[in-house]
């Protein structure tokens, strides 16, 4: 059973290539192949899960083959399976399968249908590879690959400039976090001398890694998670990522890829647990993210973006849970959240498919037209808000309890965010499905989605309703996913019952308030919005985070053009061409010297000779008598001298 886990990503990978190459001839233009593989993968994961909770598997399971080696360092390709892996596998395969089924309806008639399925399969392959990898190097590779798939799928409708821009933004923002991940990975390697997760965990357990080094590496790695899981302050990319098709948002930007950061922290939890600073960083980042994102969702009118902010906020909860020492709580929330948030996105997709707008102000009253979508959305919303006994109630309660056990302030932040969650979900629900239709043309056009889309909705709704209860029964999930190491701090004792009671009450009250306000007194929110316009504006502008990073980008651009000017006009023009210019000038001077001094001297000898010749020429009259006279005179003189001497 476990021996075949490695096939899961390979098969998905292969099928991506097959769809791209032969999709034209496959039934359903390749969708069938993708769905078949995803179904098989889900079946495998389900079997693994069942066996694991029955205790029939020898966990952790590990196997690897050498990939390449340099010097004494070896990189491997391998599989590491423990309870955490299996929990994640189930989430990934289940959501992937349902999303692929749903997409048949959603993407029908798209000119790049085949490519869409290939990308989905490639994403699933990378995500599965990330989940089961036995070493951090391959983990990192898959981490980057899911990022690229996300890039390709966000920008799937790339003719729309906003989609192309959003894809790029997502890629670069997450890449910013990945720089931290890369450096963290490198430093972790130099703490431990290995990439293998089992060895790293082992070394962390026995305290081989110095806590300071572990903390530094952990925080650096966490930067990667901040990018990937859209934590504060890198959360800016996720709302824009909603430019992609809705099923993609459900799969990548709600259930799986964005949870990869959480999964990574959980995967290396033993390293994090060595350093209270690292854990606190995780917890507080999560808490701040949960609060800020929830507050942004309060004023947003784009249905998918409300859900996106909600996702960011819930990811913050997961981080909060992990950072507060609630390992199981964080992962539990990841699991339940995957179902109900995927459900919400798919339901939202169904709505958008029907009315062709994302703007909630143009919707309203759709519950009559789209009953299945409405019911499932309602169930998902209840699960998200944390109304007992839906899934979110159990997991969020666990997270909040963990936060309270660690630090009351963390808990307070989480509780406020929970109240906001209930409010904005009530708002979204009411604006979309209740009340009077705002845009009659769109309302008339709306219709319930085909069964191929509602089917997955119903299945996910079922999971959203029961998964919390089912998994917490007999502590099934806790036995599967738990942390056996020692936390670096003491936890307070908290009463789960009290927390649950409080959380449930707050959720019900807040949701009720929201529903009442938006249903019966729609004037009040509008009035409040008018009155607190600066606050609403700040929330709309996402606390200026976008502007902040854009300023960064602008700075980079300015720097780049300044450097280019420097390169062109200084380094090249002055330093190099300047040399050439100087050399040329110097050679001109040399030439002048050559012409006017050296050559002139040579010429001068000639001139002197010439002048002398001219002088001597005067004697040559050509008249023979003159010559004779000279001879005569000379002879006379010599003769006189001879006689005198």
């Amino acid at each position: 059973m476990l021996e075949y886990v490695f096939i899961l990503p390979l098969l998905s990978f292969a099928v991506a290539g097959v769809i791209l190459a032969f999709g034209k001839w496959l039934p359903g233009r390749g969708a069938s192949a993708g769905i078949a593989v995803a179904a098989w993968g889900f079946a495998q994961a389900a079997i693994l899960f069942t066996k694991a909770i029955q205790g029939k598997l020898a966990l952790p399971y590990e196997v690897s083959i050498p990939w390449f080696s340099v010097g004494s360092t070896q990189a491997t390709l391998g599989v590491y399976v423990d309870g955490l892996t299996i929990a994640m596998l189930v989430v990934v395969t289940a959501v992937s399968l349902l999303v692929q089924i749903y997409s048949i309806g959603y993407m029908r008639g798209d000119p790049r249908f085949k490519r869409y399925y290939a990308y989905l399969s490639l994403f699933t392959a990378s995500m599965l590879g990330l989940t089961i990898s036995d070493n951090m190097l391959v983990f990192f590779m898959c981490w980057e690959l899911v990022g690229v798939c996300s890039y390709l799928l966000i920008g799937f409708w790339f003719e729309k400039p906003s989609a192309a821009y959003a894809g790029k933004k997502a890629f670069i923002t997450t890449k910013l976090g990945d720089l931290g991940f890369l450096v963290g990975l490198l430093s972790l390697f130099y703490c431990t001398g290995t990439f293998r997760i089992s060895e790293i965990l082992e070394l962390a357990h026995i305290g081989f890694i110095p806590p300071a080094a572990a903390g530094a590496a952990a925080i650096l790695l966490f930067l990667g998670a901040v990018g990937k899981s859209a934590q504060f302050p890198l959360l800016i990319w996720l709302p824009d990522a909603m430019e992609g098709p809705s099923p993609v948002s459900a799969l990548i930007h709600a259930a799986t890829m964005v949870a990869a950061g959480v999964y990574m922290v959980a995967r290396l939890y033993a390293v994090y647990a060595l350093s209270p600073v690292a854990l606190d960083t995780v917890a507080w980042t999560g808490a701040i993210t949960a609060l800020t994102a929830a507050s942004m969702a309060l004023v947003c009118f784009d249905l998918k973006r409300v859900l996106a902010f909600s996702t960011v906020s819930q990811l913050g909860y997961m981080m909060l849970g992990l950072g507060a020492g609630g390992f199981t709580a964080g992962m539990f929330h990841l699991t339940t959240h995957a179902y109900f948030k995927a459900l919400l996105f798919l339901a939202a997709g169904s709505v958008i498919h029907a009315v062709h707008t994302n703007d909630m102000r143009e919707m309203g009253g759709l519950k009559n037209k789209m009953p299945v979508t409405y019911i499932t959305f309602l169930l998902g919303a209840l699960a998200l808000v944390g109304i007992p006994p839906f899934a979110g109630f159990f997991s969020k309660d666990a997270v909040l309890a963990a936060a309270l056990a660690r630090n009351p302030y963390l808990y307070a932040v989480g509780a406020v965010a929970a109240a906001m969650t209930a409010f904005y979900m009530a708002r979204a629900l009411v604006m979309t499905f209740h009340g009077e239709p705002k845009d009659m043309k769109k309302y008339d056009h709306a219709h319930e989605s085909p069964p191929v889309m509602t089917g997955p909705l119903i299945l996910l709704a079922a999971a959203s309703v029961v998964s919390g209860w089912a998994l917490s029964r007999h502590e099934i999930f806790e036995r599967l996913v738990n942390f056996e190491g020692v936390l670096p701090f003491e936890l307070h004792h908290v009463s789960h019952g009290a927390v649950a009671l409080y959380a449930g009450t707050v959720a019900v009250l807040s949701m009720g308030l929201g529903a009442w306000l938006y249903k019966s007194k729609p004037g009040i929110p509008a009035m409040l919005r008018g009155k607190f316009a600066p606050v609403a504006g700040l929330l709309d502008r996402r606390y200026g985070l976008d502007a902040f990073f854009l300023k960064f980008v602008a700075l980079g651009d300015r720097l780049s053009s300044v450097l280019f000017i420097f390169d062109l006009n200084f380094l090249d023009a002055i330093a190099i061409d300047g040399w050439a210019w100087l050399t040329e000038k110097l050679s001109r001077i040399q030439r002048w010297f050559d012409d006017n001094v050296v050559d002139a001297a040579v010429d001068a000898t000639g001139t002197v000779t010439l002048c002398a010749g001219r002088l001597a020429r005067l004697a040559q009259t050509g008249i023979v008598q003159n010559y004779l006279l000279f001879i005569a005179v000379a002879v006379s003189v010599f003769a006189a001298l001879a006689f005198a001497g």
């Binding site: 010097g71 670069i172 720089l179």
Partner: protein, 487 residues
Amino acid sequence: MSLLSLIVFAPLAGALLILAIPNTRTKAIQGVAAASSAVCMIFSGYLYYAFDKSTAAMQFIEKVSWIPAFNISYHLGVDGLSVTIVALTALLTLVSIIYSFNITLRVKEFFFWFLLLEVGMLGVFVSLDLFLFYVFWELTLVPMYFLIGVWGGPQKEYAAIKFFVYTLFGSLVMLLGILALYFNSAPHTFDMLELARQSSLFPLNFQIWVFLALYLGFAIKIPAFPFHTWLPLAHVEAPTGVSVLLAGILLKMGIYGLLRVSFPVLPLAAKWFMPFFIVIAVINIIYGALVAMAQKDLKKMVAYSSINHMGYCMLGMAAMTTIGFNGAVLQMVTHGLITGSLFLLVGVIYDRAHTRDIDAFGGLGARFPIFAGLMTIQVMASLGLPGLAGFVSEFLCFLGAFEAWPYYVAASAIGILVTAAFFLRMIEKVFLGPFNEKWAGLPDMNLRELVAIVPLAVLTLVIGLWPRFCLDLIDPTITYLVGIVNR
């Protein structure tokens, strides 16, 4: 005649044959050029296959005394350091020749110079005698001068003369270094292996001076900041096929020279120089990336990104560790493949649209799926996407350098971000968004272009997924080399 000589001189035979063909018979000239470089490629492939992966020693050695009076010999050989690059050279030349079938101006001379260039490049990588090395080194210069100067773009004369004079300046200083080595060895020798054996006899001061002299020659070729300014100009002005070789092979001669000559022969100086070298590497990475971001011209962007990528090579070398050296050598190969194909792809679009201005395009992705797909793959490889070749080599460079220079490595990671930023921006502007109807009539890639580019893309993928394809050959030599350098 043995294998290495065959590899080096097969293109020469082709070049001489081309001289005998009349000007007008273009097809025959192209055929002979492709055939002789294909022969060279086949021999190199066999060399790659027959190479013994278990030893660090020189293989396929040929040694014939050439000028006995000065102890100069015709001494060839390959080890893990050079074998991959020899194969890369043969491959890139072959695909560039195939790509260059679209050249119509003075075809005969073009291919003559092209093949002569191949002789020079191959010779540099297989010669073990410094004198021979220098001869081949200079032999690359003249064909390149003509290839840029005759078949280049609008500023070709300026680019050609700049390239020629700049690199000639560097190599003359390098020659001084070589002569210094010759006269200080006992007995006087140009033999690289013999000089490496004598390295412990050279005092530090002497090593530093010689190292700097050699470094100047190599740094101009790499090109290391601040000696890089010839590169964008030469790359942009050169015809596509020549840009490929310029980026793919000629830049590697600098790195190769450092690894083959400077490090083993002058280990003390190399160690002395590393604190400077790492700074230069980081500057190359960040500066190259940032300047590339400012480019509006596709080809210039790729050219500046080469500076950035050579920075990774230098980063790996600065570590003086097995991992880093492996990364640097692999990076030479992967950069050759990736940037080579990027230049070809830029050539493809330029041949059609007659512009390389990034802002002039838009939405090409929908109409030219093959071109967009290949371009995206190679751009992703260039920005270090896992699963493609660039990632493995860059990661090894980072990993190798991190132990010795953690903060520099952390700083140079910014280069990755900037690279991603400008490449994605380029993709967004050229391939995404609404289609620019101006380019509606352009055809997608033709067979000639596919034959040239697809092999490179396939190799990019192969090395990315299975780096042992190269690393198994490289590693033993590098392990041995690191042993020598750190002795």
